[in-house]
Protein backbone atom coordinates (compact mmCIF):
# COMPACT_ATOMS: atom_id res chain seq x y z
CA UNK A 1 0.00 0.00 0.00
CA UNK A 2 1.73 3.16 -1.02
CA UNK A 3 0.16 5.87 -3.01
CA UNK A 4 -2.05 8.65 -1.72
CA UNK A 5 -5.82 8.29 -1.71
CA UNK A 6 -5.20 5.65 -4.28
CA UNK A 7 -4.34 2.29 -2.94
CA UNK A 8 -2.24 0.27 -5.27
CA UNK A 9 -2.38 -3.38 -4.40
CA UNK A 10 0.64 -4.90 -6.01
CA UNK A 11 -0.27 -8.42 -7.03
CA UNK A 12 3.17 -8.84 -8.50
CA UNK A 13 4.20 -11.56 -10.80
CA UNK A 14 7.71 -12.88 -10.43
CA UNK A 15 9.66 -10.49 -12.59
CA UNK A 16 12.32 -11.89 -14.84
CA UNK A 17 15.17 -9.68 -16.13
CA UNK A 18 13.70 -9.89 -19.61
CA UNK A 19 10.31 -8.76 -18.36
CA UNK A 20 11.91 -5.87 -16.45
CA UNK A 21 13.24 -4.52 -19.73
CA UNK A 22 9.83 -4.45 -21.35
CA UNK A 23 8.62 -0.89 -21.82
CA UNK A 24 5.00 -1.87 -21.16
CA UNK A 25 4.15 -4.30 -18.45
CA UNK A 26 1.02 -6.34 -18.48
CA UNK A 27 0.74 -5.24 -14.91
CA UNK A 28 -1.74 -6.52 -12.42
CA UNK A 29 -1.68 -3.34 -10.38
CA UNK A 30 -5.07 -2.75 -8.85
CA UNK A 31 -5.80 0.92 -8.44
CA UNK A 32 -8.47 2.27 -6.16
CA UNK A 33 -9.53 5.80 -6.93
CA UNK A 34 -12.01 7.94 -5.03
CA UNK A 35 -14.19 10.36 -6.95
CA UNK A 36 -16.98 12.77 -6.07
CA UNK A 37 -19.61 13.37 -8.73
CA UNK A 38 -21.59 16.61 -8.68
CA UNK A 39 -24.51 17.92 -10.67
CA UNK A 40 -25.58 21.51 -10.05
CA UNK A 41 -23.10 21.52 -7.14
CA UNK A 42 -24.95 18.62 -5.49
CA UNK A 43 -23.48 15.12 -4.96
CA UNK A 44 -24.91 12.50 -7.32
CA UNK A 45 -25.73 9.07 -5.91
CA UNK A 46 -26.75 5.75 -7.45
CA UNK A 47 -24.06 5.51 -10.15
CA UNK A 48 -22.62 2.16 -11.18
CA UNK A 49 -19.31 1.03 -12.71
CA UNK A 50 -20.73 1.38 -16.21
CA UNK A 51 -21.35 5.09 -15.65
CA UNK A 52 -17.65 5.90 -15.18
CA UNK A 53 -14.99 6.39 -17.84
CA UNK A 54 -11.47 6.28 -16.43
CA UNK A 55 -8.30 6.84 -18.45
CA UNK A 56 -4.81 6.16 -17.09
CA UNK A 57 -2.17 8.10 -19.08
CA UNK A 58 -4.73 8.37 -21.84
CA UNK A 59 -5.56 4.63 -21.95
CA UNK A 60 -9.15 3.76 -21.10
CA UNK A 61 -9.45 1.36 -18.21
CA UNK A 62 -12.21 -1.01 -17.23
CA UNK A 63 -13.83 0.00 -13.96
CA UNK A 64 -14.40 -3.30 -12.19
CA UNK A 65 -16.26 -2.20 -9.08
CA UNK A 66 -17.78 0.84 -7.47
CA UNK A 67 -18.63 1.29 -3.83
CA UNK A 68 -19.93 4.26 -1.94
CA UNK A 69 -19.07 3.59 1.67
CA UNK A 70 -18.84 6.82 3.68
CA UNK A 71 -15.81 6.30 5.90
CA UNK A 72 -15.31 8.31 9.09
CA UNK A 73 -13.43 11.53 8.32
CA UNK A 74 -10.17 12.75 9.86
CA UNK A 75 -10.61 16.49 9.24
CA UNK A 76 -7.78 19.03 9.48
CA UNK A 77 -9.10 22.59 9.60
CA UNK A 78 -6.40 25.10 8.68
CA UNK A 79 -6.89 28.79 9.38
CA UNK A 80 -4.79 31.66 8.04
CA UNK A 81 -4.25 34.07 10.97
CA UNK A 82 -1.70 36.31 9.25
CA UNK A 83 -1.90 40.11 9.22
CA UNK A 84 -3.79 40.23 5.93
CA UNK A 85 -6.66 38.30 7.55
CA UNK A 86 -7.21 40.90 10.28
CA UNK A 87 -10.66 41.88 8.99
CA UNK A 88 -11.97 38.33 8.73
CA UNK A 89 -10.35 36.05 11.29
CA UNK A 90 -12.68 36.72 14.24
CA UNK A 91 -15.89 36.11 12.32
CA UNK A 92 -14.31 33.17 10.52
CA UNK A 93 -13.39 31.52 13.80
CA UNK A 94 -16.94 31.90 15.13
CA UNK A 95 -18.37 30.40 11.96
CA UNK A 96 -15.94 27.47 12.04
CA UNK A 97 -16.95 26.68 15.60
CA UNK A 98 -20.56 26.38 14.42
CA UNK A 99 -19.62 24.41 11.32
CA UNK A 100 -17.67 21.74 13.16
CA UNK A 101 -20.84 20.91 15.08
CA UNK A 102 -22.01 19.17 11.90
CA UNK A 103 -19.37 16.44 12.15
CA UNK A 104 -20.40 12.85 12.90
CA UNK A 105 -19.58 11.22 16.23
CA UNK A 106 -17.05 8.89 14.61
CA UNK A 107 -15.26 11.70 12.77
CA UNK A 108 -12.07 13.25 14.15
CA UNK A 109 -10.99 16.86 14.02
CA UNK A 110 -7.77 18.81 14.46
CA UNK A 111 -7.11 22.50 14.08
CA UNK A 112 -4.06 24.20 12.57
CA UNK A 113 -3.30 27.89 12.27
CA UNK A 114 -0.59 29.68 10.35
CA UNK A 115 0.97 33.11 10.34
CA UNK A 116 4.73 33.42 10.81
CA UNK A 117 4.76 29.65 11.37
CA UNK A 118 2.40 26.68 11.46
CA UNK A 119 0.91 25.65 14.79
CA UNK A 120 -1.33 22.78 15.83
CA UNK A 121 -3.95 24.31 18.10
CA UNK A 122 -5.26 20.87 19.01
CA UNK A 123 -4.48 17.38 17.74
CA UNK A 124 -6.82 14.97 15.95
CA UNK A 125 -9.62 13.99 18.35
CA UNK A 126 -13.33 13.16 18.38
CA UNK A 127 -15.43 16.29 17.80
CA UNK A 128 -17.36 15.77 21.02
CA UNK A 129 -14.20 16.36 23.05
CA UNK A 130 -12.76 19.10 20.91
CA UNK A 131 -11.47 22.28 22.41
CA UNK A 132 -13.61 25.24 21.44
CA UNK A 133 -11.80 27.49 19.02
CA UNK A 134 -10.21 30.44 20.73
CA UNK A 135 -10.35 33.89 19.30
CA UNK A 136 -7.19 34.47 17.31
CA UNK A 137 -5.50 37.78 16.84
CA UNK A 138 -4.38 38.05 13.26
CA UNK A 139 -0.92 39.40 12.59
CA UNK A 140 2.44 38.79 10.99
CA UNK A 141 3.57 37.12 7.83
CA UNK A 142 1.95 34.19 5.97
CA UNK A 143 3.58 30.76 5.87
CA UNK A 144 0.86 29.44 3.58
CA UNK A 145 2.79 26.82 1.62
CA UNK A 146 4.40 25.57 4.83
CA UNK A 147 0.91 25.04 6.26
CA UNK A 148 -0.31 23.17 3.18
CA UNK A 149 2.78 20.95 3.23
CA UNK A 150 2.27 20.21 6.92
CA UNK A 151 -1.36 19.25 6.28
CA UNK A 152 -0.49 16.99 3.33
CA UNK A 153 2.11 14.94 5.23
CA UNK A 154 -0.36 12.64 6.97
CA UNK A 155 -0.57 8.88 7.06
CA UNK A 156 -4.06 7.66 6.24
CA UNK A 157 -5.45 5.45 9.03
CA UNK A 158 -7.13 2.16 8.06
CA UNK A 159 -10.87 2.50 7.59
CA UNK A 160 -10.74 6.28 7.70
CA UNK A 161 -10.52 9.10 5.15
CA UNK A 162 -8.30 12.22 5.29
CA UNK A 163 -9.72 15.64 4.49
CA UNK A 164 -7.98 19.02 4.98
CA UNK A 165 -9.81 22.31 4.51
CA UNK A 166 -7.90 25.60 4.45
CA UNK A 167 -9.33 29.11 4.89
CA UNK A 168 -6.97 31.78 3.60
CA UNK A 169 -6.45 34.78 1.36
CA UNK A 170 -3.80 32.71 -0.44
CA UNK A 171 -0.91 35.16 -0.24
CA UNK A 172 2.32 33.53 0.87
CA UNK A 173 5.02 35.78 2.31
CA UNK A 174 7.24 33.68 4.55
CA UNK A 175 7.21 29.96 3.71
CA UNK A 176 10.35 27.94 3.22
CA UNK A 177 8.26 25.54 1.14
CA UNK A 178 7.72 26.56 -2.49
CA UNK A 179 4.55 25.93 -4.48
CA UNK A 180 6.49 23.47 -6.66
CA UNK A 181 7.69 21.55 -3.60
CA UNK A 182 4.17 21.47 -2.17
CA UNK A 183 2.76 20.17 -5.47
CA UNK A 184 5.09 17.18 -5.27
CA UNK A 185 3.59 16.37 -1.87
CA UNK A 186 0.06 16.86 -3.22
CA UNK A 187 0.70 14.27 -5.93
CA UNK A 188 1.67 11.67 -3.34
CA UNK A 189 -0.44 12.55 -0.31
CA UNK A 190 -3.45 10.59 0.92
CA UNK A 191 -5.11 13.82 1.99
CA UNK A 192 -7.83 15.51 -0.04
CA UNK A 193 -7.19 19.25 0.20
CA UNK A 194 -10.06 21.70 -0.23
CA UNK A 195 -9.43 25.47 -0.19
CA UNK A 196 -11.63 28.44 0.57
CA UNK A 197 -10.37 31.89 -0.37
CA UNK A 198 -11.98 34.09 2.23
CA UNK A 199 -12.96 37.68 1.54
CA UNK A 200 -14.12 40.15 4.20
CA UNK A 201 -17.90 40.12 4.80
CA UNK A 202 -18.25 43.57 3.24
CA UNK A 203 -16.52 42.53 -0.02
CA UNK A 204 -18.56 43.12 -3.13
CA UNK A 205 -20.16 40.17 -4.84
CA UNK A 206 -17.90 40.32 -7.88
CA UNK A 207 -14.89 39.59 -5.61
CA UNK A 208 -16.49 36.30 -4.68
CA UNK A 209 -17.83 35.33 -8.06
CA UNK A 210 -14.62 35.52 -10.03
CA UNK A 211 -11.61 33.29 -9.69
CA UNK A 212 -8.70 35.68 -10.05
CA UNK A 213 -5.77 34.46 -12.17
CA UNK A 214 -3.45 34.58 -9.16
CA UNK A 215 -5.61 31.91 -7.46
CA UNK A 216 -5.01 29.49 -10.38
CA UNK A 217 -1.83 27.87 -8.95
CA UNK A 218 -3.71 27.04 -5.74
CA UNK A 219 -6.69 25.71 -7.72
CA UNK A 220 -4.33 23.45 -9.66
CA UNK A 221 -2.64 22.26 -6.46
CA UNK A 222 -5.85 21.27 -4.66
CA UNK A 223 -7.13 19.62 -7.85
CA UNK A 224 -4.14 17.27 -7.75
CA UNK A 225 -5.55 15.87 -4.50
CA UNK A 226 -9.13 15.69 -5.80
CA UNK A 227 -10.16 18.82 -3.91
CA UNK A 228 -11.67 22.09 -5.04
CA UNK A 229 -11.21 25.80 -4.53
CA UNK A 230 -13.97 28.28 -3.76
CA UNK A 231 -14.07 32.00 -3.02
CA UNK A 232 -16.44 33.01 -0.22
CA UNK A 233 -17.33 35.75 2.25
CA UNK A 234 -16.34 35.31 5.90
CA UNK A 235 -19.93 35.12 7.08
CA UNK A 236 -22.57 32.38 7.26
CA UNK A 237 -21.26 31.09 3.93
CA UNK A 238 -18.43 29.50 5.95
CA UNK A 239 -20.84 27.12 7.64
CA UNK A 240 -22.58 26.13 4.42
CA UNK A 241 -19.30 25.93 2.51
CA UNK A 242 -17.58 23.67 5.02
CA UNK A 243 -20.67 21.49 5.42
CA UNK A 244 -20.89 21.12 1.65
CA UNK A 245 -17.19 20.22 1.38
CA UNK A 246 -17.59 17.50 4.02
CA UNK A 247 -20.79 16.22 2.44
CA UNK A 248 -19.13 16.08 -0.98
CA UNK A 249 -16.17 14.26 0.55
CA UNK A 250 -18.44 11.66 2.14
CA UNK A 251 -20.33 11.10 -1.10
CA UNK A 252 -17.24 9.94 -3.00
CA UNK A 253 -17.35 6.72 -4.96
CA UNK A 254 -14.52 4.26 -4.66
CA UNK A 255 -13.61 3.01 -8.14
CA UNK A 256 -11.43 -0.04 -8.71
CA UNK A 257 -9.60 -0.88 -11.89
CA UNK A 258 -6.60 -2.93 -12.93
CA UNK A 259 -4.11 -0.68 -14.68
CA UNK A 260 -3.52 -2.15 -18.12
CA UNK A 261 -1.70 -1.00 -21.21
CA UNK A 262 0.45 1.52 -19.41
CA UNK A 263 3.99 1.27 -17.98
CA UNK A 264 3.91 0.83 -14.26
CA UNK A 265 6.65 3.30 -13.24
CA UNK A 266 6.28 7.05 -13.06
CA UNK A 267 3.38 9.46 -12.92
CA UNK A 268 0.01 8.16 -14.10
CA UNK A 269 -2.37 10.92 -15.14
CA UNK A 270 -5.97 9.97 -14.42
CA UNK A 271 -9.09 11.45 -15.98
CA UNK A 272 -12.54 10.45 -14.77
CA UNK A 273 -15.73 11.37 -16.60
CA UNK A 274 -19.35 10.24 -16.51
CA UNK A 275 -20.79 8.39 -19.47
CA UNK A 276 -24.17 10.08 -19.32
CA UNK A 277 -25.54 13.41 -20.47
CA UNK A 278 -26.22 15.91 -17.72
CA UNK A 279 -23.33 18.28 -17.02
CA UNK A 280 -21.62 16.21 -14.34
CA UNK A 281 -18.55 17.51 -12.54
CA UNK A 282 -16.14 14.85 -11.26
CA UNK A 283 -13.59 15.62 -8.54
CA UNK A 284 -10.92 12.96 -8.26
CA UNK A 285 -7.17 12.78 -7.90
CA UNK A 286 -5.31 13.83 -11.02
CA UNK A 287 -3.00 10.85 -10.88
CA UNK A 288 -0.67 8.61 -8.93
CA UNK A 289 2.91 7.41 -8.90
CA UNK A 290 3.39 3.80 -9.92
CA UNK A 291 6.37 1.55 -9.60
Amino acid sequence: MKVLALVIALALLAVSPARQQQPFRTATDVVILEAAVLQNNTPVTGLTARDFIVTDNGVRQTVEAVSAEALPVDLSLILDTSGSMTDTVEQLTEQLTVATGHLRADDHLRFLQFGWGVREVFAMQPPASRVSLDKFTAGGATSFHDALAAALMRVRRPGRAELAVVFTDAVDTSSAMTLEATEELARRSDVLLHAFIVRPPEAVAIDVMILRPDYRPLADLVALTGGGLEVMLADKHVVTGLSRAISEFRSRYSLRFTATGVPRAGWHELVVTIDRPGGFVVRARRGYFGG
Partner: protein, 314 residues
Protein backbone atom coordinates in the same frame (compact mmCIF):
# COMPACT_ATOMS: atom_id res chain seq x y z
CA UNK B 1 11.86 57.49 40.26
CA UNK B 2 10.73 58.18 36.74
CA UNK B 3 9.95 55.68 33.99
CA UNK B 4 13.42 55.76 32.46
CA UNK B 5 15.11 55.07 35.81
CA UNK B 6 12.71 52.21 36.44
CA UNK B 7 13.41 50.89 32.95
CA UNK B 8 17.14 50.86 33.69
CA UNK B 9 16.38 48.72 36.75
CA UNK B 10 14.35 46.28 34.64
CA UNK B 11 10.97 47.18 36.16
CA UNK B 12 8.39 44.76 34.59
CA UNK B 13 5.62 47.39 34.42
CA UNK B 14 7.78 49.76 32.40
CA UNK B 15 9.04 46.94 30.17
CA UNK B 16 5.39 46.06 29.53
CA UNK B 17 4.53 49.67 28.76
CA UNK B 18 7.35 50.06 26.27
CA UNK B 19 6.21 46.88 24.54
CA UNK B 20 2.79 48.38 23.77
CA UNK B 21 2.82 49.60 20.16
CA UNK B 22 0.07 52.13 20.79
CA UNK B 23 2.35 53.91 23.29
CA UNK B 24 4.88 54.77 20.59
CA UNK B 25 3.39 58.19 19.82
CA UNK B 26 3.49 59.46 23.38
CA UNK B 27 6.86 57.88 24.13
CA UNK B 28 8.38 59.43 21.02
CA UNK B 29 6.91 62.85 21.71
CA UNK B 30 8.11 62.83 25.33
CA UNK B 31 11.61 61.67 24.52
CA UNK B 32 12.19 64.02 21.62
CA UNK B 33 10.92 66.94 23.70
CA UNK B 34 12.30 66.18 27.16
CA UNK B 35 14.91 63.47 26.63
CA UNK B 36 17.94 65.76 26.37
CA UNK B 37 17.06 67.48 29.65
CA UNK B 38 16.56 64.14 31.43
CA UNK B 39 19.93 62.87 30.17
CA UNK B 40 21.77 65.91 31.61
CA UNK B 41 19.71 66.31 34.77
CA UNK B 42 22.20 64.68 37.17
CA UNK B 43 25.34 66.37 35.88
CA UNK B 44 28.24 65.32 33.61
CA UNK B 45 29.24 62.27 35.66
CA UNK B 46 25.94 60.50 34.89
CA UNK B 47 25.25 61.89 31.46
CA UNK B 48 26.75 59.04 29.42
CA UNK B 49 24.93 56.38 31.42
CA UNK B 50 21.59 58.22 31.32
CA UNK B 51 22.03 58.80 27.60
CA UNK B 52 22.47 55.07 27.06
CA UNK B 53 19.36 54.37 29.18
CA UNK B 54 17.25 56.83 27.19
CA UNK B 55 18.38 55.67 23.77
CA UNK B 56 17.99 51.99 24.72
CA UNK B 57 14.47 52.71 25.96
CA UNK B 58 13.76 54.41 22.64
CA UNK B 59 15.19 51.50 20.68
CA UNK B 60 13.08 48.97 22.52
CA UNK B 61 9.95 51.04 21.92
CA UNK B 62 10.74 51.21 18.22
CA UNK B 63 11.10 47.42 18.05
CA UNK B 64 7.59 46.95 19.35
CA UNK B 65 5.99 48.90 16.52
CA UNK B 66 7.44 46.29 14.20
CA UNK B 67 4.02 44.90 13.26
CA UNK B 68 1.91 48.00 13.63
CA UNK B 69 3.43 50.04 10.81
CA UNK B 70 3.45 53.16 12.98
CA UNK B 71 6.65 54.16 11.26
CA UNK B 72 6.77 57.93 11.50
CA UNK B 73 7.06 58.54 15.26
CA UNK B 74 9.42 55.57 15.42
CA UNK B 75 11.76 57.08 12.81
CA UNK B 76 11.70 60.46 14.59
CA UNK B 77 12.58 58.86 17.90
CA UNK B 78 15.31 56.76 16.33
CA UNK B 79 16.86 59.81 14.69
CA UNK B 80 16.75 61.65 18.01
CA UNK B 81 18.42 58.75 19.84
CA UNK B 82 21.06 58.30 17.13
CA UNK B 83 21.89 62.02 17.29
CA UNK B 84 22.14 61.91 21.09
CA UNK B 85 24.65 59.05 20.93
CA UNK B 86 26.81 60.94 18.47
CA UNK B 87 27.37 63.53 21.15
CA UNK B 88 29.56 61.06 23.00
CA UNK B 89 33.09 62.16 22.11
CA UNK B 90 34.46 58.63 22.14
CA UNK B 91 32.49 55.73 20.63
CA UNK B 92 31.94 52.94 23.15
CA UNK B 93 31.18 49.27 22.72
CA UNK B 94 27.67 49.90 24.05
CA UNK B 95 27.15 52.46 21.29
CA UNK B 96 28.32 49.91 18.71
CA UNK B 97 25.77 47.42 20.06
CA UNK B 98 23.05 50.08 20.05
CA UNK B 99 23.79 51.05 16.44
CA UNK B 100 23.76 47.42 15.43
CA UNK B 101 20.44 46.98 17.25
CA UNK B 102 18.95 50.02 15.52
CA UNK B 103 19.96 48.72 12.09
CA UNK B 104 18.71 45.23 12.97
CA UNK B 105 15.28 46.64 13.80
CA UNK B 106 15.20 48.64 10.60
CA UNK B 107 16.07 45.48 8.67
CA UNK B 108 13.17 43.84 10.49
CA UNK B 109 10.85 46.52 9.15
CA UNK B 110 11.69 45.44 5.62
CA UNK B 111 11.11 47.89 2.81
CA UNK B 112 9.60 50.56 5.06
CA UNK B 113 12.88 50.83 6.97
CA UNK B 114 15.30 50.59 4.09
CA UNK B 115 16.04 54.29 3.56
CA UNK B 116 16.65 54.77 7.26
CA UNK B 117 18.99 51.75 7.23
CA UNK B 118 21.15 53.57 4.71
CA UNK B 119 21.52 56.71 6.82
CA UNK B 120 22.05 54.75 10.07
CA UNK B 121 24.58 52.53 8.34
CA UNK B 122 26.53 55.62 7.26
CA UNK B 123 26.55 56.92 10.83
CA UNK B 124 27.58 53.52 12.18
CA UNK B 125 30.41 53.26 9.64
CA UNK B 126 31.71 56.70 10.49
CA UNK B 127 31.67 55.88 14.23
CA UNK B 128 33.06 52.31 13.89
CA UNK B 129 34.95 52.12 10.59
CA UNK B 130 36.61 48.77 11.39
CA UNK B 131 33.37 46.89 12.18
CA UNK B 132 33.04 44.07 9.59
CA UNK B 133 29.31 43.62 10.28
CA UNK B 134 28.51 46.79 8.36
CA UNK B 135 29.85 45.21 5.14
CA UNK B 136 27.51 42.26 5.55
CA UNK B 137 24.60 44.61 6.13
CA UNK B 138 25.53 46.58 3.01
CA UNK B 139 25.48 43.30 1.08
CA UNK B 140 21.98 42.58 2.49
CA UNK B 141 20.96 46.08 1.39
CA UNK B 142 22.22 45.40 -2.14
CA UNK B 143 20.47 42.01 -2.18
CA UNK B 144 17.20 43.58 -1.09
CA UNK B 145 17.38 46.17 -3.87
CA UNK B 146 18.55 43.70 -6.48
CA UNK B 147 16.60 40.50 -5.94
CA UNK B 148 13.84 40.79 -3.32
CA UNK B 149 10.17 41.00 -4.25
CA UNK B 150 9.44 44.59 -3.13
CA UNK B 151 5.79 43.82 -2.38
CA UNK B 152 6.14 40.72 -0.24
CA UNK B 153 9.79 41.18 0.90
CA UNK B 154 10.43 37.65 -0.28
CA UNK B 155 13.98 36.77 -1.32
CA UNK B 156 14.69 35.63 -4.85
CA UNK B 157 12.72 32.49 -5.79
CA UNK B 158 14.78 29.31 -6.02
CA UNK B 159 13.75 28.49 -9.57
CA UNK B 160 17.23 28.87 -10.98
CA UNK B 161 16.30 31.72 -13.28
CA UNK B 162 17.28 34.80 -11.29
CA UNK B 163 20.08 36.99 -12.56
CA UNK B 164 21.87 38.23 -9.48
CA UNK B 165 23.35 41.70 -10.04
CA UNK B 166 27.18 41.58 -9.96
CA UNK B 167 27.21 44.28 -7.29
CA UNK B 168 25.33 41.98 -4.88
CA UNK B 169 27.83 39.16 -5.41
CA UNK B 170 30.77 41.53 -4.96
CA UNK B 171 29.28 42.88 -1.74
CA UNK B 172 28.94 39.38 -0.26
CA UNK B 173 32.42 38.37 -1.44
CA UNK B 174 33.75 41.44 0.34
CA UNK B 175 31.89 40.45 3.52
CA UNK B 176 33.40 36.96 3.23
CA UNK B 177 36.90 38.40 3.75
CA UNK B 178 36.36 39.03 7.48
CA UNK B 179 36.38 35.91 9.70
CA UNK B 180 33.50 37.29 11.82
CA UNK B 181 31.08 37.42 8.88
CA UNK B 182 32.54 34.86 6.48
CA UNK B 183 30.16 31.99 7.28
CA UNK B 184 27.02 34.10 7.10
CA UNK B 185 28.10 35.90 3.92
CA UNK B 186 28.95 32.54 2.29
CA UNK B 187 25.55 31.15 3.31
CA UNK B 188 23.64 34.09 1.87
CA UNK B 189 25.67 33.99 -1.32
CA UNK B 190 24.95 30.24 -1.53
CA UNK B 191 21.25 31.08 -1.52
CA UNK B 192 21.69 33.55 -4.37
CA UNK B 193 23.81 31.12 -6.38
CA UNK B 194 21.10 28.49 -5.94
CA UNK B 195 18.45 31.00 -7.04
CA UNK B 196 20.47 31.74 -10.18
CA UNK B 197 20.85 28.04 -11.02
CA UNK B 198 24.56 27.75 -10.12
CA UNK B 199 24.13 24.58 -8.08
CA UNK B 200 27.87 23.80 -8.00
CA UNK B 201 28.78 27.20 -6.56
CA UNK B 202 25.84 27.07 -4.15
CA UNK B 203 26.98 23.72 -2.76
CA UNK B 204 30.55 24.95 -2.28
CA UNK B 205 29.44 28.13 -0.51
CA UNK B 206 26.85 26.36 1.65
CA UNK B 207 29.51 23.88 2.75
CA UNK B 208 31.71 26.80 3.79
CA UNK B 209 28.79 28.38 5.61
CA UNK B 210 28.07 25.24 7.62
CA UNK B 211 31.67 24.49 8.54
CA UNK B 212 33.01 27.97 9.32
CA UNK B 213 30.71 28.68 12.25
CA UNK B 214 29.28 27.09 15.35
CA UNK B 215 26.26 29.42 15.35
CA UNK B 216 23.17 27.13 15.12
CA UNK B 217 21.08 29.59 13.05
CA UNK B 218 23.69 29.94 10.34
CA UNK B 219 24.67 26.27 10.33
CA UNK B 220 21.04 25.23 9.99
CA UNK B 221 20.41 27.74 7.22
CA UNK B 222 23.56 26.68 5.36
CA UNK B 223 22.55 23.01 5.49
CA UNK B 224 19.02 23.91 4.37
CA UNK B 225 20.31 25.85 1.36
CA UNK B 226 22.73 23.02 0.62
CA UNK B 227 19.74 20.64 0.61
CA UNK B 228 17.84 22.94 -1.78
CA UNK B 229 20.83 23.08 -4.13
CA UNK B 230 21.07 19.27 -4.12
CA UNK B 231 17.33 19.00 -4.71
CA UNK B 232 17.69 21.29 -7.72
CA UNK B 233 20.58 19.10 -8.84
CA UNK B 234 18.30 16.03 -8.61
CA UNK B 235 20.30 14.40 -5.81
CA UNK B 236 17.50 13.55 -3.34
CA UNK B 237 19.41 11.16 -1.06
CA UNK B 238 22.17 13.70 -0.41
CA UNK B 239 19.57 16.44 -0.04
CA UNK B 240 17.81 14.41 2.65
CA UNK B 241 21.09 14.16 4.58
CA UNK B 242 21.54 17.95 4.41
CA UNK B 243 17.97 18.58 5.57
CA UNK B 244 18.62 16.22 8.46
CA UNK B 245 21.78 18.17 9.32
CA UNK B 246 19.80 21.43 9.14
CA UNK B 247 17.24 20.00 11.54
CA UNK B 248 19.87 18.65 13.91
CA UNK B 249 21.73 22.00 13.92
CA UNK B 250 18.58 23.80 15.06
CA UNK B 251 15.69 21.45 15.92
CA UNK B 252 13.34 24.41 16.48
CA UNK B 253 13.68 25.57 12.87
CA UNK B 254 10.33 24.80 11.29
CA UNK B 255 11.75 25.39 7.82
CA UNK B 256 14.38 22.69 8.33
CA UNK B 257 11.91 20.30 9.96
CA UNK B 258 9.35 20.64 7.15
CA UNK B 259 11.95 20.11 4.41
CA UNK B 260 13.33 17.07 6.21
CA UNK B 261 9.79 15.76 6.60
CA UNK B 262 9.11 16.35 2.91
CA UNK B 263 12.21 14.38 1.92
CA UNK B 264 11.21 11.51 4.21
CA UNK B 265 7.63 11.56 2.92
CA UNK B 266 8.72 11.41 -0.72
CA UNK B 267 11.14 8.64 0.25
CA UNK B 268 8.26 6.57 1.58
CA UNK B 269 9.04 7.13 5.27
CA UNK B 270 5.62 8.59 5.94
CA UNK B 271 5.19 7.80 9.60
CA UNK B 272 8.50 9.48 10.48
CA UNK B 273 7.56 12.46 8.33
CA UNK B 274 4.18 12.84 10.04
CA UNK B 275 5.75 12.61 13.50
CA UNK B 276 8.28 15.30 12.59
CA UNK B 277 5.56 17.60 11.26
CA UNK B 278 3.47 17.12 14.40
CA UNK B 279 6.51 17.88 16.57
CA UNK B 280 7.46 21.06 14.70
CA UNK B 281 3.87 22.33 14.83
CA UNK B 282 4.00 22.02 18.61
CA UNK B 283 7.50 23.37 19.26
CA UNK B 284 8.79 25.06 16.10
CA UNK B 285 9.89 28.66 15.85
CA UNK B 286 7.57 31.15 14.22
CA UNK B 287 9.07 34.48 13.27
CA UNK B 288 12.52 33.59 14.67
CA UNK B 289 13.01 30.75 12.20
CA UNK B 290 16.31 31.44 10.38
CA UNK B 291 14.86 31.16 6.89
CA UNK B 292 11.74 33.18 7.67
CA UNK B 293 14.13 35.83 9.00
CA UNK B 294 16.43 35.59 5.96
CA UNK B 295 14.87 38.67 4.29
CA UNK B 296 15.26 40.62 7.54
CA UNK B 297 19.00 40.23 7.89
CA UNK B 298 20.35 40.97 11.36
CA UNK B 299 16.92 41.26 12.91
CA UNK B 300 17.54 37.68 14.01
CA UNK B 301 20.21 39.08 16.37
CA UNK B 302 17.83 41.52 18.08
CA UNK B 303 17.19 39.40 21.21
CA UNK B 304 20.94 39.10 21.82
CA UNK B 305 21.62 42.80 21.14
CA UNK B 306 18.86 44.12 23.44
CA UNK B 307 19.99 41.72 26.16
CA UNK B 308 23.51 43.19 25.92
CA UNK B 309 22.14 46.73 26.11
CA UNK B 310 19.93 45.93 29.09
CA UNK B 311 22.97 44.58 30.90
CA UNK B 312 24.95 47.71 30.01
CA UNK B 313 22.40 50.08 31.54
CA UNK B 314 22.05 48.28 34.85
Amino acid sequence: MDALELYALGDPAVIKMVAEPRAIGSIAAALVKHGAAWIRANGPSETSHRRLVAVTFALEAVRHVFESLEGRPAWEMLRWASGELRQESKPTDAERVWRHGAIAILQGFGASGIDVVESELNVATSRFPAEPRWLLIRAWRAEMDGTFNPKTIRPAPLDGTIEVPPGVIRAYEQAMRAPETRAEAATRLAYLRCASGRVDLAIDLATQGATLTTEPDIRSLAHLIHGWALTRGDRPAEALAEFRAAHESLPASQSAALWLARSLFLNGERAEAEALVDETMRTGLGELDPFRLYPRGDFRLWPMLIAQLRRAIR
